[in-house]
């Protein structure tokens, strides 16, 4: 059993093509990848929005002044 179809490299490399595991599931892997990408944007977007909203009201005046002085 081999996940990429090869159990030995005793082969003529001219005859060898793809050697990654789970060949035949490429479309499924891409769907998983796209979901991961879109999901990341969603999580980051929601989190940043909440964070900025919270940050609007949490600025300590003295600390903000100190930040401005730091340049």
């Amino acid at each position: 059993m081999s996940t990429n179809g090869y159990t030995s490299w005793a082969v003529d490399l001219a005859e060898v093509g793809p050697i990654y595991p789970f060949q035949g599931y490429e479309v499924l892997m891409v769907i998983v990848g796209v979901v991961f990408w879109i999901g990341w944007h969603r999580i980051q977007f929601v989190r940043e929005g909440e964070h900025l909203e919270k940050a609007r009201h949490t600025g300590d005046e003295e600390k903000v002044k100190a930040q401005l002085e730091r340049y």
């Binding site: 093509g17 891409v30 977007f45 929005g49 600390k63």
Partner: protein, 457 residues
């Protein structure tokens, strides 16, 4: 990969592009350093994170659809349909887009284009620092890096692209296809985004917002210069036979070519890279009266101006064209800033956008009548084609998409950070835990010293 010569050429080409990719990584390092150096201390981590996350987001989307666009869009939609045949091998589920002993070049070739994508997105990132939401910028990064620039590459930076065939468009080292489009896109975004607080006085006079760390900025731009070498090399095909080109070149002499498979040499682009860098630096020094940052940026703007034709120019032409470009770019930057109250924080619109545009226009005159391609029936290089190309790059594929998306984000209230957060700084807002932990550990150390009888201050 049968036969020794074939194997050697394949391995050399693989390795050649692989090295260019490593060099081009330095462009991104340089952009990060430049942006952080230019931002104020209270925005450092946010600025850095905003740029760094361009890398994964553009990479995965360029894998999912960007690379396919390049191969499928050369004539789409105005001059033919999608080239599904060429696109098929570059779909994300194609077995050539993976570990495959029957295809050894697609991955490195993909990566060479991908690094250009990072650059396009990073150019936009610099102009919007200290006030854009990261989430908004990252959507722009995906759009410029994996959609708009690669459409322009399919049209004008592909041996079969319609702009090359019909307009005689010539842009060997990407004055337009990377720099004009990214500068135009950045202009569209900052027009909607607005300036940083304090950038303009009440009477509208622009204020300079000096970089907080000039050294970081300097090293950053020098790294961009360094990475630009890799960029130039990546724009060439290093060694190819006339037979493989399958065009009109006769004889059996192998050559390096530009992206259009028209002949050039590494020697030529080495001369011209350095002479255009020099022309840009010298002109910027004079026009800015020795301003360090404009001088450094002028070197870059000089290369960008000459890049469209640096495969063919004489080195002195490259130098003069670079110098002319820099003078125009400098004047235009300040005129636009005053006239339209725009805050281009790192001068990206000017250095990349205006320089790229001007470079295309100049090349149309200097290279008038020169063949754009080794293939029969293609238009030769000409001013109308280059000016049209410059407009397509800067306005049609750059400015308009950036402006429209920024308008949508602005209308939805997700483009710009709140004013209160801008004032207190994004690092305080987003990384207050880090700042608080730092304060706590400093206090603890002082306490420890005091306990030992050593005055803390």
């Amino acid at each position: 990969m049968d036969g020794n010569l074939n194997a050697l050429t394949t391995v050399f080409t693989e390795f050649y592009y692989w090295v260019t990719v490593v060099f081009m990584f330095l462009i991104h390092v340089g952009f990060c350093m430049y942006e952080v150096g230019a931002s104020r201390a209270r925005n450092h981590m946010h600025t850095l994170m905003k740029n760094i996350m361009i890398i994964p987001l553009v990479t995965v989307t360029f894998f999912f659809f960007g690379w396919w666009i390049y191969w499928a869009f050369p004539n789409f939609p105005f001059w033919g349909g999608l080239d599904t045949e060429a696109g098929a091998a570059n779909l994300p589920w194609a077995d050539t887009m993976a570990t495959n002993l029957g295809d050894r070049i697609t991955g490195v070739f993909w990566a060479a284009f991908l690094l250009f994508s990072w650059t396009a997105a990073s150019i936009v990132s610099g102009s919007v620092i200290e006030r854009i939401r990261s989430s908004a910028l990252w959507v722009h990064a995906v759009m410029i890096g994996s959609v708009w620039w690669i459409i322009d590459a399919a049209w004008g930076w592909h041996y079969g692209g319609w702009m090359v065939r019909v307009l005689g468009y010539h842009d060997a080292y990407a004055s337009g296809v990377i720099h004009a489009i990214a500068g135009g896109y950045a202009l569209g975004v900052i027009m909607v985004l607005g300036p940083r607080l304090g950038k303009f006085a009440k009477d509208g006079t622009p204020r300079d917002i000096p970089p907080h760390n000039p050294w970081l900025l300097t090293i950053g731009i020098f790294l961009i210069y360094t990475g630009f070498w890799g960029f130039y090399a990546a724009c060439n095909v290093p060694a190819i036979s006339p037979e493989a080109i399958d065009g009109q070149i006769t004889g059996v002499t192998w050559t390096a070519t530009n992206i259009y498979l028209a002949p050039t040499t590494l020697s030529a682009i080495t001369f011209n890279f350095l002479m255009s860098l020099s022309g840009g630096l010298m002109a910027a020094y004079v026009i800015s009266k020795g301003d360090a940052f404009w001088t450094f940026s002028g070197g870059l703007a000089g290369i960008i101006t000459a890049s469209a034709g640096n495969d063919l120019y004489h080195p002195v032409q490259a130098m003069i064209i670079a110098a002319i470009g820099v003078v125009i770019v400098y004047k235009l930057h300040y005129w636009v800033e005053r006239r339209f109250k725009l805050d281009d924080a790192v001068g990206a619109v000017a250095v990349h956008g205006y320089a790229g545009f001007v470079g295309l226009v100049i090349s149309g005159f200097v290279l008038w009548g020169v063949p754009s391609s080794p293939y029969e029936g293609y238009a030769t290089i000409n001013p109308v084609g280059q000016i049209t190309g410059a407009v397509i790059m800067f306005f049609v594929l750059g400015f308009l998409p950036g402006w429209i998306l920024a308008k949508i984000q602005s209308a939805a209230g997700v483009l710009r950070i709140p004013e209160e957060v801008e004032l207190q700084g994004l690092d305080y807002a987003e990384h207050h835990a880090y700042e608080d932990a730092k304060a706590a550990i400093i206090a603890a150390d002082k306490e420890e010293l005091a306990a030992r009888g050593v005055p803390a201050e």
